[in-house]
Structures are given as structure tokens and as C-alpha cells.
């Protein structure tokens, strides 16, 4: 298995949906599957939400962010301050969509930490699935406090 296959398998095991697309299919895919999506790879949307209230952000149904890179061994996708007009956004949205380019996949967490600079980052996070809990009798439930669903769009 190549690292793209491993990444896809690990994400799906963690409860995420994975869509493989070419870059020119992206727009039509978003319009079909996520008509109400807020696209935070777009600077206008980012500006609009830079000072938005929690009440406004709580009403977001689906939000799209561009991940910097992904880790094949565990499906983790890296986001940091620069990608987020406000840090709470990928957590407070009901559904989260992350896009990642297939050329930006590393094998392990050890390689992943070579890619980032915590020295210069106020906040950064690896996200590897939808929010989940098993605190009631070890029954897995998606949607504890963060996003209830995660879709990862892998672009080639």
C-alpha cells in the first residue's frame, strides 16, 4: 500500500469520509455535496469571520479549510493559526471539510514534526477525524464537542 492508501484507510477507520478529486473538480464537488459550505480558503470569507462572535460561529453548518499536510500512519491533518481566521472555527462548526494535496502526505509523526515550527506558531492542531467519545459503556459516538462529521478531500 502506498501512503495515500494508508492515509485514506486510517481516516475512514477514524470515522472520516474521504473524497479523491482533481483540482478542477473541486468547485463542482463542493457545490453538489456541501451547498451551504463556508470556504475558509477564500480570503473574503476569512476576513468576514476574523472578528465574528461565538454566536455567529456557532451557527456554521459546514466549514472548509486547507490542511498544510497529512500524516499517513494516523490520518492526522495539520492546521495552524495562519489557516484560521479564528482558532475555534474547525471545532465549533457542525461539519468540517479539510482539503489536502496528495503531494503533501508524510509517512509518520516523526516526519510530520520536521515540517512544522512550533517556535513561530501560536496555535496548531492535528485533526484526524470527527470529534468522538466512548465514555458511555465504551460505545463509540461521533460528535462529542467538536465537529460531528469530517470529510477529507484529497486533491491531485
Amino acid at each position: 500500500m502506498n501512503n495515500i492508501d494508508i492515509l485514506k484507510e486510517r481516516l475512514e477507520n477514524a470515522g472520516a469520509s474521504v473524497i479523491l478529486l482533481t483540482e478542477n473538480q473541486l468547485q463542482s464537488c463542493l457545490e453538489t455535496h456541501f451547498p451551504s459550505i463556508l470556504n475558509f480558503t477564500d480570503t473574503v470569507t476569512c476576513e468576514e469571520y476574523r472578528k465574528a462572535s461565538l454566536e455567529k460561529m456557532e451557527k456554521i453548518d459546514t466549514a472548509l479549510f486547507a490542511g498544510r499536510f497529512a500524516v499517513a500512519e494516523n490520518g492526522a491533518i495539520w492546521l495552524e493559526d495562519e489557516d484560521l481566521p479564528q482558532r475555534v472555527l474547525p471545532f465549533i462548526t457542525q461539519k468540517l471539510v479539510l482539503q489536502i494535496h496528495v503531494s503533501k502526505v508524510v509517512d509518520t509523526m516523526q516526519e510530520a514534526y520536521q515540517q512544522i515550527s512550533l517556535q513561530n506558531t501560536g496555535f496548531g492542531v492535528f485533526i484526524s477525524g470527527p470529534s468522538k467519545t466512548a465514555d458511555i459503556e465504551q460505545s463509540l459516538v461521533y460528535g462529542a464537542h467538536g465537529a460531528r462529521e469530517l470529510t477529507v478531500i484529497m486533491l491531485s
Binding site: T121, F123, S139, H145
Partner: protein, 455 residues
């Protein structure tokens, strides 16, 4: 009977629950084995983690200073607490300074250790625990029974009743998805109105002044990013030297804890959000004395993953509450006596010394060796019950005296053969409760060996 044994007996009274507890934790252990087996360099990672933690413990002041310099440089306020009281006072002073009213907290074993919630409660300040398992036990006024799975001792029907009473869910409803949704709605309101968020810390990076928090639910992030004030609480041993060390620890932590390849969220906090304030409170609370004892120092390498609990045959069958100490299970049993030898003297005995805990520990803490060392120390310091000491004394005399040993062996074989069952299994024979001895052999091994060796 020891305190642990008494409480374990209560837990075992409900047979179906205790069997479920045993089987469920074993399932978590098997998941851990499955995912660890998928990493070919797993044993190397454990060794590296252990080596890094050893280096940290040897150079703790250097790394703590480095962390503080970097964090302070990034505008983070770093505070130090000598003990639990100082820690609680510091948190109180932060709350008072910012006039915080709505406080949310994600999982932190340090705040459990220091009794922070109780301390604040007596001063009229309420903290909302936001991890689902912790919220459940907070509603019920209980302590966590496991450091990663705090409500593992409860059945969904009990949680349903609690939620019906506290959150107005339907009477009799116990579907985990339904109950989780109710908690999500309830806690979202708490997050949106939070003005101060408290979290624990999994790792603190000396090189960059960053703290790292791992959750599956996203509660740490919801709290930290909603509230203007973020307060991260850590023991001094949570320091690791470099950013690249995280590559090793994040590969080990979730796999060891729950059998996941990584937690859903691995969050790195380095600076406050615009307009916000970030605090890191570093507590010693008894760690330095532990560090001073070479025999027990390694216990401070613990990552708090809970793998030793899931694998422990005693923990699985006695439940976390039977231990009584904040951190239950094998690792808790070597940390607790350091705090109070007399009070926790029965915990190192609550083990079969099978060594499974040490074998699954991602930081290679020699847990079972320390349990054994504690037994010897507590016996010498006369902290164990006199009955246990007398029994051990007599056993020692018998084992050291060849003739006496042979005689008593002979007597035991005869006694077991001829004495009535009710005599052998009289109330004084604690071992015989729930267990049957095998039929005694005709001769001892010694006799058998002598006979057969000649042939």
C-alpha cells in the same frame, strides 16, 4: 482485610458488572496490541521515549527554565506551585483577577490530585468538567475510576438516570448516542458563555515553550478558544526537550491508551489568542522528593495513558475505585505510598507482580519492580498490618529452615488429605474464599527429585 480488598469485594458483588468491566478493559488492551503491532519500530519508540524521559528527569531544572524563558518570551504567564494548596490558591487568584464567573475544565489529573474543584467549590466557584465521562461523574459526585475512561465503572442505564435528573432527558432513555447529544447541547452552552478555560497538559516543549493537549472530544479546544483566558496545568515532569520528541510520544500515547493511531485532536498552544491571556501553572506537589529516590524516580516517566490499568488482572477485576488514590491501578500503587506510606500501604500488595504493566508501558516504567520494592520498604518501615508482618516473619523462618520446611510440607499434605473441607476452608483462610486447592500430591517435589535422579 485490607482497604483495597474490602472495596474490591463490593465491586465484585455485582457479578455481571465486574465481568463486563474486566472484558471491556481487556478489549481495550487487545486494541492496543493490534495497533502497536502495526508499527514495526514500536519497541524502539518505547526505548527512545524512556531515554528521553530519563534525560528529562536528570536535567529537569534546565528544561523547566528553558520552557519558562520561551513561553514568557511569547507572552505566556508561567507560574509555579510548590504543593496542592499553593496550586489551588494560584488558580483562585487567576480567577479572581479576571473576575471569571463561568469556568470550564477539560481533563487534568493534576487538578484531581490537588482537589481543585472541591477547593473552589468551598469558595463559591463552580467549575464545569467538559469531558463527557468527567461531566457524568461530576453530576454524580464521584471520582474518576480510570484516568482515561473516567466513567468506565458505570452502566448506560445509570448515566441515563443521572441525565434525566440533571439535564431533563427522557426517563428510562439510555441510548449512548441520545445521551451524548444531550451532553453536547448542554456543554455547548457552557463553552459559549465560558470566560476561563482550564486544561491539563500532555507534553510541554522546553525548546519552544509550547504545551500540547490531546483529546478525542475536542473539549479542550472548545474551552480554550471560546474563553478569553486559558490556563494550562502541569506537573514538573511533563516537560520534554524538543519539538521533534513529540514525533515519538504522539506515536505512542493514543496507541497505548485506547488503541487509536492518534487522538482526534493533538493541540499545540504557544501563544494566547488575540486579546486573550495564556497561563501555564507548573506544580511540584511531591514530585521532587520522588525524584530524589533513585529506586522510585522512574515512576515520573509516566505518560498517564492508562495502559497499565487496562492490562492489570487486579485492576480489571477490582475496579478503579477500590484503590482510593487519585491515580488508580499499577502506576497509582507506586505513586501513592510516596505520598503517605501508612495510608496507602495496601496498594503495592494489590498486584500479582505478573509484570504485564511494565511490558505495556510506553515509557518503560519498571512498575512491577517498584511494586516489589515498595512491599519490602513498607514491611521494613512497619507500615503494613501487624498480621501481615507476623505472617511474613513466620514464613521467612520456615523457608530458611530445611527441617522445619520438610516437616510442615508433610503436615500440610496430610492435613489437606484428611481434614474435613469445612476446616480447611474456615473463615481464617482468606485465600480459600472463591478458590479450591488442588488435591495434595503423595510426595513433595524434593522427594520426587531424589528418587528419580538416581535412576
Amino acid at each position: 482485610m485490607s482497604e483495597h480488598a474490602k472495596k474490591a469485594k463490593l465491586f465484585l458483588a455485582d457479578e455481571s458488572r465486574s465481568r463486563w468491566h474486566d472484558e471491556t478493559l481487556w478489549m481495550v488492551r487487545q486494541k492496543r496490541d493490534h495497533v502497536a503491532g502495526m508499527v514495526p519500530e514500536w519497541e524502539d519508540l518505547r526505548q527512545q521515549a524512556s531515554d528521553i524521559k530519563t534525560d528529562v528527569l536528570e536535567h529537569l531544572p534546565k528544561y523547566l527554565q528553558q520552557f519558562e524563558e520561551k513561553a514568557t518570551h511569547h507572552g505566556v504567564i508561567v507560574l509555579h506551585a510548590k504543593d496542592a494548596n499553593e496550586f489551588n490558591q494560584l488558580i483562585l487568584s487567576i480567577i479572581e483577577k479576571h473576575e471569571a464567573k463561568n469556568i470550564v475544565k477539560s481533563k487534568s489529573m493534576l487538578t484531581e490530585e490537588c482537589g481543585l474543584n472541591r477547593f473552589l467549590h468551598t469558595r463559591g466557584i463552580e467549575v464545569t468538567d467538559t469531558d463527557l465521562g468527567e461531566r457524568i461523574i461530576q453530576f454524580r459526585g464521584e471520582a474518576p475510576s480510570h484516568i482515561v475512561l473516567p466513567a468506565i465503572h458505570l452502566k448506560k442505564e445509570e448515566i441515563g438516570e443521572t441525565f434525566h435528573e440533571k439535564l431533563g432527558t427522557e426517563a428510562g432513555a439510555s441510548d449512548p448516542t441520545y445521551l451524548t447529544r444531550a451532553a453536547r447541547l448542554h456543554l455547548r452552552q457552557k463553552f459559549l458563555s465560558a470566560d476561563l478555560a482550564i486544561t491539563g497538559v500532555n507534553f510541554a516543549i522546553a525548546e519552544t515553550g509550547t504545551v500540547v493537549v490531546c483529546t478525542n472530544e475536542g473539549n479542550a479546544d472548545m474551552g480554550v478558544h471560546c474563553a478569553p483566558i486559558q490556563v494550562h496545568c502541569m506537573g514538573i515532569e511533563k516537560i520534554i526537550p524538543r519539538q521533534t520528541d513529540l514525533g515519538i510520544f504522539t506515536r505512542l500515547l493514543a496507541r497505548s491508551a485506547t488503541g487509536q493511531h492518534v487522538t482526534t485532536y493533538t493541540s499545540h498552544y504557544g501563544k494566547a489568542k488575540p486579546g486573550g491571556t495564556m497561563y501555564v501553572v507548573i506544580a511540584d506537589n511531591g514530585r521532587t522528593p520522588q525524584l530524589a529516590e533513585p529506586k522510585y524516580r522512574q515512576a515520573l516517566k509516566c505518560l498517564r495513558c492508562g495502559a497499565c490499568m487496562n492490562t492489570c488482572p487486579v485492576f480489571r477485576r477490582s475496579g478503579g475505585h477500590s484503590y482510593g488514590y487519585t491515580i488508580p491501578g499499577p502506576i497509582g500503587s507506586i505513586l501513592a505510598p510516596r505520598r503517605d506510606e501508612k495510608k496507602w500501604s495496601d496498594l503495592p500488595i494489590a498486584s500479582s507482580l505478573c509484570g504485564s504493566c511494565s511490558n505495556v508501558c510506553p515509557a518503560k516504567v519498571n512498575i512491577h519492580e517498584q511494586l516489589y520494592a515498595w512491599r519490602q520498604d513498607l514491611m521494613q518501615h512497619k507500615k503494613t498490618s501487624w498480621l501481615k508482618r507476623v505472617t511474613m516473619k513466620i514464613t521467612g523462618i520456615v523457608l530458611a529452615n530445611n527441617g522445619l520446611y520438610n516437616l510442615l510440607g508433610f503436615a500440610a499434605r496430610k492435613a489437606l488429605k484428611y481434614l474435613p473441607h469445612s476446616w480447611v476452608y474456615m473463615p481464617l483462610n482468606a485465600w480459600g474464599r472463591g478458590r479450591e486447592l488442588p488435591l495434595p500430591p503423595k510426595q513433595s517435589f524434593k522427594q520426587w527429585y531424589k528418587q528419580n535422579r538416581k535412576k
